[in-house]
Symmetry: C2
Subunit: 181 residues, 2 copies
């Protein structure tokens, strides 16, 4: 069982500009950097309502028939396309992880700025992959948010790609008691 | 001639905690990661008044007999130790770079949070080396600051070290006219 975050952003740590624009990312994500293999290994994607509504505005539903869990304290106002496999859940990250694991999902993929931050803060992420695009944009929506204490990481692997992408994979270590913060 | 920044921080982009503490860094910078070689190649270190005064509080002057330029709009209130090689300058980053190059310094090392941000914003940095320590600390003093436009980088090399440090070197490309920002 694993709970993964797989994010990309600028070298100065932004996943998007302040207006959500992603124009600083290379077209088509630059080049293959393991995302397809990662995606194929995922049993369920967990996103928040904001990401869900953004994605509903796309010309095409991007998640195929992958199981998608939308976290929202309120009912989802907008319906997903017929082929989409959507579930609505609400609750704390640890509860969501437990319910999904109980339902047979061995590998969860947590995505969306606030959802990622909430799962990290709750200590519910095992694996963190960060890909840096070679640019400084100076301001934007940060990749990471505040925490209640340090999260120690263990470096697993780093790979640099010809286009300048640098991808680092980490394991998130269990939060030690008495961590500062 | 080159103007370099060589910084380290957490994976979530902080060079220190909010109270300047560096306790999240591994003892002794973790392991050799090229800093000594970099330092040996530097002709002059450029720091701000705040870094200068912090360093004066150390038990020992850390810069040996390396030429150190302290930027300050006002005279330096505190004197450096006798062996230190200190110059006081004031001015815009481009002027400082021009004066130092004219004085024979071919390789400048810009250090200190606000000084780095000012030189990056002014487009006066050629080489950027960022070393990431495997931890998320959630809040602190950011490695990078706001910019007037994007700074495009060219990836030169990335190296991962056994302790989990990941060092990436970039060239800073000339700022294109009409850059967004």
């Amino acid at each position: 069982m694993a709970v993964s975050v797989f994010v990309g952003g600028s070298v100065d740590g932004y996943l998007a500009r302040e207006d959500d624009a992603l124009d600083f990312l290379p077209p088509g994500s630059g080049e293959p950097h393991g995302y397809a293999e990662f995606w194929a290994s995922v049993d369920a994607l967990v996103i928040g309502r904001r990401t869900y509504e953004t994605v509903l505005g796309f010309a095409e539903w991007p998640y195929g028939t992958k199981r998608v869990v939308v976290l929202s304290a309120t009912p989802l106002a907008r319906a997903a396309p017929p082929a989409a496999r959507i579930e609505h859940m609400a609750g704390a990250p640890a509860d969501i992880v437990a319910r999904l694991h109980a339902s047979g999902a061995a590998h969860l993929y947590i995505d969306g700025g606030l959802t990622i931050q909430g799962f990290l803060r709750a200590g519910c992420v095992d694996r963190l992959t960060v890909t840096r695009v070679p640019v400084l944009i100076g301001r934007g929506i940060p990749l990471f948010g505040s925490l209640d204490g340090d999260l120690l990481l263990e470096h697993v692997a780093t790979q640099a790609y010809p286009s300048g992408l640098v991808k680092s994979e980490y394991r998130v270590l269990p939060n030690p008691k008495g961590a500062r913060g």
